[in-house]
């Protein structure tokens, strides 16, 4: 009998992945809102064609983190950062890195569906038009492809000219996902995309995420543990601005290495 009674080390394959498959690499990143140290020494590698879930109690820094990935957090006046976030091996904090260029590659979907007060068609065509596409035929193609990609084409194909406010919340959220897809991004950031949706719409968005990861890399902030365990490949647990544990989702939810992770996912605090 050769059973070791020593503690097991949790395998973490992040470090062995080839650099070409890394979409985002965060290195010793810190962020302050004024005097509030909101993110502390974050080190994370986000891999291509994976769904990465970020979980943690309110105020732990998870939304701040994904808003940093497309530099949206800079809209807050008192924000200060240190460290690096490499997107495709280039530091997004570099002075010559144009934020428009970054956001063309990184789409975002928010907690509440926020379509523009325009037709469904114009919502999807908005981004491509800004990027200079005027040809009606090409725009038609992009709109159809994006709506199909967001699994909502069949539901709205006959009402493309209707106002996007006229459809259900779940449909609006998928319109927002289609709008993000229209600019052909590399990464999609999702900040609690189903928290305002009913269970059926939630399931549709979750199924969509599974489909989309074939072509995109997805980072999703969620308060729903079951959602994180159902749809993500990796999960990061944030607490008080730190990454407590970042590992394969299967490990996090079956045998987490850190007691604080276990306590959080088991509902002992938070």
């Amino acid at each position: 009998m050769t059973v070791s009674l020593m503690n097991n080390t949790v395998a973490n394959d992040q470090n062995t992945a080839a650099s070409s498959n890394i979409v985002y690499e965060t290195k010793q990143m810190n962020l302050w809102y004024g005097a509030n140290h909101a993110l502390k020494n974050i080190d994370m590698k986000i891999m291509e064609n994976e769904v990465t879930a970020i979980i943690g109690p309110s105020g732990c820094g998870k939304s701040t983190y994904i808003k940093t990935l497309n530099r949206m957090v800079e809209l807050v006046p008192s924000v200060k950062t240190s460290g690096e976030i490499l997107y495709r091996e280039r530091n997004i904090f570099d002075k010559d890195y144009r934020v428009e260029e970054l956001r063309t590659r990184v789409g975002m979907v928010f907690q509440k569906p926020n379509p523009f007060p325009k037709s469904i068609y114009d919502n999807i065509a908005y981004g491509p038009r800004i990027h200079g596409i005027k040809n009606k035929k090409i725009l038609d193609e992009i709109v159809e492809k994006s709506l199909r990609g967001a699994a909502i084409w069949d539901e709205v194909k006959d009402r493309l000219n209707e106002n996007a406010y006229g459809i259900s919340g779940g449909q609006q959220q998928r319109i927002c996902i289609a709008r993000a897809l229209a600019i052909e991004p590399d990464v999609i950031l999702m900040d609690e995309p189903t928290s305002a949706l009913d269970p059926i719409s939630t399931l549709k968005v979750e199924e969509l995420v599974q489909e989309l990861k074939k072509d995109y890399s997805i980072i999703i902030v969620t308060h729903n543990m079951q959602q994180a365990s159902r749809i993500s490949d990796k999960t990061a647990f944030f607490l008080n601005g730190e990454v407590v544990e970042f590992d394969k989702t299967d490990s996090i939810f079956s045998n987490p290495a850190d007691k604080r992770t276990e306590d959080y996912i088991s509902g002992r605090f938070g």
């Binding site: 009998m1 059973v3 543990m225 079956s254 045998n255 987490p256 276990e262 088991s266 509902g267 002992r268």
Partner: protein
């Protein structure tokens, strides 16, 4: 009471159900051996009848655990504890079945005088019963070091099993008219050996509960 506290309370309840079930299963095994040694047919019949209660206990534990999984969606240690509870309950139910099998062989042997290897069977039973009793104690205390020590005793039970079978074969060769009892005692040997294996299984389940990984303590 918070939802988490209520969940902990329910977890404790399932543990208590499991302890009650283990007491019952081990008692059945002990009684079946007493019945065998004393040629006590009445007790053997009682053991067969009482097995339904053990099956009911397992069913209640299953129901309780399934409801907890459905309603609370447990993860990590909570989930492992519930899965392990189901498996240990199934193992204890099997030990109860072996007690029934021993009781049935006891009835078949009736008043015939036992062949000499019966003393080895007594030894095997003492070890298996002690292993089961101690592994449940280790399980309650979540003491994997003790669980590993208990699993190691299984090798001794296996040795005794080998010796007993060899002696029984010799007895059969010397006195072919008693071949029936040789077969019956050989079956009982097998049931005792398997009961000890289930103690090892429970030790392995404890490792999974504590470590989150599977260990083979039987090799």
């Amino acid at each position: 009471m918070s939802i988490r506290e209520r969940f902990d309370l329910e977890l404790n309840e399932t543990q208590e159900q499991l302890i009650e079930m283990s007491d019952y299963a081990i008692a059945a095994l002990n009684r079946s051996m007493d019945a065998l040694m004393n040629h006590d047919i009445d007790t053997a019949l009682e053991i067969i009848e009482d097995d339904a209660a053990l099956n009911r206990m397992e069913e209640e534990i299953n129901q309780h655990v399934i409801l907890m999984i459905a309603k609370q969606s447990p993860v990590a240690t909570d989930l492992r504890r519930l899965v392990v509870t189901l498996k240990v309950a199934a193992d204890l139910e099997r030990v109860g079945d072996y007690a029934v099998n021993i009781a049935k062989e006891t009835i078949r042997i009736g008043k015939q005088e036992h062949l000499p290897p019966i003393t080895l069977l007594q030894e095997m039973h003492e070890m298996a019963s002690k292993m089961l009793h101690q592994v449940i104690e280790a399980f309650i205390a979540e003491d994997i070091i003790k669980a590993k020590e208990i699993a190691e005793i299984d090798d001794q039970v296996d040795d005794l099993y080998g010796q007993a079978i060899r002696q029984l074969m010799r007895s059969g060769a010397e006195d072919p008219e008693r071949m029936n009892q040789v077969t019956q005692l050989a079956f009982i040997c097998r049931y005792l050996e398997r009961s000890a294996d289930y103690a090892t299984n429970i030790a392995e389940q404890l490792f999974y509960l504590v470590r989150g990984k599977r260990y083979d303590l039987n090799s």
